[in-house]
Chain length 351, copies 2
């Protein structure tokens, strides 16, 4: 079958595990939109795989690349119909944006946070940055509150270009908020803002490849972390968070994309999280929406795009899932040093 | 600490794994409501554990049982304040009920489904039944549609007091819908309705403890299943579904409660699902709302309730998560026969 052949081509050329159903998802995305960023988003697959799939579609005569658009041809429509493939449709609730959360009680926090975030450092490629929308950060805080992980709790944020620590401290709900980041700009911004706003925020400059400082081990109720998405890097960051938890009942919030992580990698990551002593309690796809970063044209996936258009800053296409885990037994993780490049693998797109 | 002591008491008396944080969740629930069913729901813990926790709270003088209410005392309020525990708050989006889904495109289906479901068989304790609200069934169909698991696909429903197969067939989207149920009333109802409405629905009478008929193995794109919640029973049912999938890219939708399954059991179940070759792609807590069944007063947990009130039929308190899994490699499951009681364990409440 044609879809299976395209899947095989992608696997062989890029080493990314995709199957015939996945290629069908690319076609469903191309049925739903002519915009390359929307197609990449809707397909929900490693970005390089979707780019390769679209090239293959073009060679089959199913799509044409014209100007900035990806246009389905009559042949493409016939193939989709023959295969029973329909245009992708999200059915996202217009009130909560698909997160299921009511943010009204956090409206004041959202306004204060927006005011303080105005002067945030821009996302830097050097540190694999790219931050989520302000609404996303507030939604993360709201979810943690609703799960009992914020009020009266000690909270650690590992890597914080999203400014989660700032929003958490601004809510005045946690007993304590600590934050680690490697980027001196973020560290300075958080320290300065905390001082001006009289927020209780402990800011550490720290490279997460290094072991956690001993005074942070087993001291927290809740952690937030948006790991880099190579398998090794993901686990390194997640294990840091888990090792900071006090014990059973402690919770972690982690981001994970489909655009830089295949479901094969998701499975590996999930097995490792469970292995470490946690259960997965929540997994909301597309919880996080990203603000477009200034290095779109130098990111790895750019040269692979079949049509090239720089998206607007607030034209979201890069989204990720939010995973909440909870320790059910003593954590089984080691606090070791990682060396070398733990940031890239064959599925990487934005590094 | 007192919460840890109560957790230990629950573990020793009931063999249910709970920790101090869990007992804090019971207190947060009791801060939020005086209604026993709402407390059980909000605590989000095995029901027998919450009942035992409330008894312990009463012995400490933190709550009083009066008439049909659970009343927090001044002492209880002081303890909560000292521990930094706040009233539980769900922050559920009022439009989508916390599911994140827009159901408007399925309004016609919802109406037709409601009409046909009017004459459904009542939930029977003999078959461990208890069905979800009509809105829940439609939401499940909508989610499967949005994930590309419905239109043009072959769909299998394993056990169907929720009438998911009927809603799926009514949508006229799948290529084929098949359904297995052990209850002759359900089988007859589905067959009769399918005939009257000219729906393409293959109805099998089948006990899920028995191996799947060979003609159903590796034939489907999607399965739905709401397993019994002992670990052994859960796996038995989930494995039947997985063994019916054609291969990688195939998806399964499974229910799982917190009220009859501790997070320790969740972790065991999740490990087994990953082991079988799947990744977890979505996990929405409280996706399913149940209509109260007629055997509330004879269910196992009834005698443990500290205050007894029969809830109205449409006064939802029993909810469950929806887990979507997707196969990323060939399934590793066996299609074996199960004997004996695979339905109950120490966390069971409604059997």
């Amino acid at each position: 079958m044609e879809l299976a052949g395209i899947a095989q081509r992608i696997r062989e050329k890029h080493g990314i595990p995709v199957n015939a159903r996945d290629v069908g998802r690319m076609l469903a995305a191309a049925l739903a939109s002519e915009d390359i960023w929307r197609i990449v988003d809707l397909a929900g697959l490693p970005m390089l795989a979707t780019c390769e799939g679209l090239q293959a579609f073009a060679e089959q005569g199913w799509v044409e690349f014209g100007g900035e658009r990806v246009r389905l041809t009559e042949a493409g429509k016939r193939v989709a119909e023959a295969l029973g493939i329909r245009p992708a449709q999200e059915l996202r609730c217009p009130r909560c944006g698909g997160r299921g959360l009511e943010l009204e009680p956090f409206r004041g926090l959202a306004q204060e946070f927006a005011r303080l975030a105005r002067n945030r450092p821009e996302a830097s490629q050097e540190f694999d940055q790219g931050y989520v929308t302000e609404e996303t950060t507030v939604a993360r805080i709201a979810l943690a509150f609703s799960r009992g992980d914020l009020a009266g709790k000690e909270v650690l944020v590992l890597g914080d270009d999203d400014l989660v620590s700032l929003a958490a401290a601004l809510s005045r709900l946690p007993k304590r908020v600590a934050v680690l980041d490697v980027d001196p700009r973020i560290v300075d911004f958080l320290r300065q803002t905390a001082k001006e706003e009289r927020l209780a925020l402990d800011v550490y400059r720290h490279d997460l490849r290094e072991p956690l400082p001993p005074e942070l081990l087993r001291r927290f109720d809740t952690f937030f972390c948006d790991p880099t998405e190579s398998f090794r890097g993901y686990l390194a960051f997640a294990h840091r968070g888990i090792s900071a938890l006090r014990g059973p009942g402690g919770a972690g919030y982690l981001g994970l994309t489909r655009l830089e992580a295949s479901l094969t990698k998701w499975r590996q990551i999930q097995r490792a999280l469970l292995e470490a002593g946690a259960a997965i309690t929540d997994l909301f796809p597309n919880f996080h929406e990203y603000v477009n970063w200034p290095y779109i044209e130098t990111m790895r996936a750019w040269s692979h795009l079949p049509v090239k258009r720089v998206p607007g800053k607030y034209e979201p296409w890069y989204r990720s899932a939010l995973i909440r885990i909870e320790l059910v037994e003593e954590a089984r993780v080691e606090n070791v040093r990682y060396s070398g490049d733990i940031f890239t693998d064959e599925e990487a797109a934005t590094t």
